[in-house]
């Protein structure tokens, strides 16, 4: 019961049959076009694999609108050194092991690492990419073709099923003999001289054995989704969306001093003695006075020491002043203070056994009355850093022909020598 169109027309088919015939033809053509496009996409997607390319599915929209989820991207291997900003590269995701990221190259840093950005991201990716992580340069974008794979992977099985159904229907429509009518129409006589293909002329009646085109279409209907979901599902490019929220720079400034108890401690001398060249083996530690004298073969020097307190936590010595109360003296002399490097005792020190000092003295001009002070900050800091055996005070120009003598109160006298130590 075949029927060709000319026959139908010559028999004057009713209008509804004409409409159905047109619809049938259009559906057939549409189904073939759809499948043809699908086939074309597949060829563009899969043929590059033959020549060593790789295909990945875009899974997220961080490259929107230039790469869309469901696109298949064909990439070829590339030398990272030759990449140019603006090119889209596939790299091993630096933030998640085992994933592929496809973003656009922003810049290549001097150290060779690559800075990428998703077109839809406001900022470049925070983690630069090593050149060795580059998996290829995106060469070809096949739109839509991987949507089924995307749906399957993202659990949108409803979409996938609907697509399968429609594609299956298209396969059936396209692979059908393409008769415009239905089997209930009158059949075209066999061997009708219209150059029809043999498949058209061997159609069995409805309800007969399974027709070969149905078997073929069933096979195609199974193969196409397999092609789309199978190989494409393997290489997935996660074009990572990223965004940041940044807090402005926090700042921390340490105090100029960590000293918890800054302040000045004034110490009295714990030992002092004059050593006199004229009486070189005599100790005068218990005297109430101390002397410094420049006199030929009768020089006198003063030894004085203090028990330095423990430095308070996180404090340092910021100032130290050594002060003597002047009992009598002459102005115009220059006196110098030097730290003592070895031990001595108040009741044992003599000119003969006095410690040998070295180093630069801290000086002050002598006064006739009042007090005489030396700014010995660096020396006290040195004592805290090293050892403390006190100070030696002497005239900077000893052995003058005429005796020039300064006399201070000793610790046994009215106003002992003092050391004011300031911590800060």
């Amino acid at each position: 019961m075949n029927q060709n169109w000319r026959t139908a027309r010559s028999h004057g088919s009713p209008p509804w049959k004409k409409v159905r015939t047109w619809v049938s033809l259009l559906a057939h053509v549409a189904a073939r076009t759809y499948l043809g496009v699908l086939l074309g996409f597949l060829l563009w997607t899969l043929l590059p694999l033959v020549v060593g390319g790789h295909t990945s599915v875009v899974m997220s929209g961080s490259m929107m609108p230039n790469l869309r989820p469901g696109d298949a991207i064909v990439r070829t291997s590339t030398d990272p050194a030759h990449l140019k900003p603006g090119q889209i590269v596939a790299v091993d995701d630096p933030d998640r092991a085992g994933r592929l990221r496809m973003h656009r190259l922003v810049e290549t840093r001097p150290d060779g690492s690559l800075v990428l950005r998703g077109d839809a991201n406001a900022r470049p990716d925070s983690t630069p990419v090593r050149p060795g992580a580059v998996r290829g340069l995106a060469r070809l974008r096949v739109p839509y073709v991987a949507l089924p794979a995307l749906w399957v992977r993202t659990g949108h099985l409803g979409y996938a099923a609907l697509w399968l159904l429609l594609t299956g229907a298209a396969v059936v429509l396209a692979a059908s003999p393409g008769r415009p009518g239905r089997p209930d129409l009158p059949e075209r006589p066999r061997g009708g001289g219209t150059g029809r293909r043999s498949s058209d002329s061997h159609v069995e009646p409805t309800g007969g054995p399974v027709r070969p085109w149905r078997r073929r279409s069933a096979a195609v209907a199974m193969a196409v989704p397999g092609l789309l979901i199978g190989p494409l599902g393997g290489g997935v490019a996660l074009a990572a969306y990223s965004t940041v929220s940044a807090n402005p720079s926090s700042t921390f400034a340490a105090a100029a001093s960590f000293c918890a108890t800054p302040g000045t401690t004034t110490l009295n001398a714990t030992a002092d003695s004059t050593v006199a060249q004229a009486t070189a083996t005599t100790n005068s530690g218990t005297s109430t006075t101390l002397s410094v004298s420049s006199s030929s073969s009768a020089n006198q020097r003063t030894l004085v020491t203090f028990a330095l307190p423990t430095t308070p936590a996180h404090c340092t010595v910021t100032a130290a002043v050594l002060t003597f109360a002047v009992s009598s003296g002459v102005a115009g002399r220059t006196l110098g203070v030097t730290p003592v490097p070895t031990s001595w005792t108040e009741t044992g020190a003599t000119w003969t056994n006095q410690p040998t000092v070295s180093g630069t003295a801290i000086t002050a001009g002598s006064v006739a009355t009042g007090s005489l002070s030396f700014a010995v900050t660096s020396q006290v800091q040195g004592m805290y850093a090293g050892s403390n055996f006190g100070f030696l005070v002497k005239d900077q120009t000893e052995s003058s022909a005429t005796a020039r003598t300064q006399t201070f109160s000793s610790r046994q006298g009215a106003t002992p020598p003092k050391l004011a130590v300031t911590f800060g």
Binding site: L25, G40, A138, P248, F252
Partner: protein, 199 residues
Amino acid sequence: MLPSSRFAAVAKWSSVPAALVLSSALVWHASYSAFSATADNPASNWAAGTVALSDDDNSTALFSATNLKPSSTGTKCIVVTSTGSLPSTVKLYGTSPATTLGLSSYLDLVVDEGTGGSFAGSGPTSCTGFTSTANAYTGTLAAFGTGKTSFATGVGSWGPAAGTQTHTYRFTYTVNSAIPNSAQGGTAAIGFTWEAQNS
């Protein structure tokens, strides 16, 4: 009228080559537009889902601490909000770390994650109501600045689902009591950045 059989045959058999040409044209167009686009494409098209992150700091730094001494300490909470339409992973890392006199090596930093609290309120009062669920970081500010520099190396375990989600981070710094006096007058600076990537 009905289609002629010749027309029908031409339509049927030209449809496949036409479709192949069409598909090639589509591939060419799609490739051309994607690969010739500039990197400065405006980030406006979020139709396919997005990740979005904000916080309640109103562009105020977490800390602007001065006159720090040994054992000085400070606490501040900040609430980060994710409003993406995709589930994501959020990591915290530092940007532009800087220090003088080695101060940052003696600033001990603890970052806890949890719920409650807000940026408003000075110092510890901003953490009123904060409940910790996890520790994100314990170490020096210096180590944070050099080691936590990107999403890959960032800290934190927050994985917000799609929709509006909030998460509180409590920052506590303490000046290490072993800080040497050589760090007196030293400074340190760091920016704290949260990054969300769709998971």
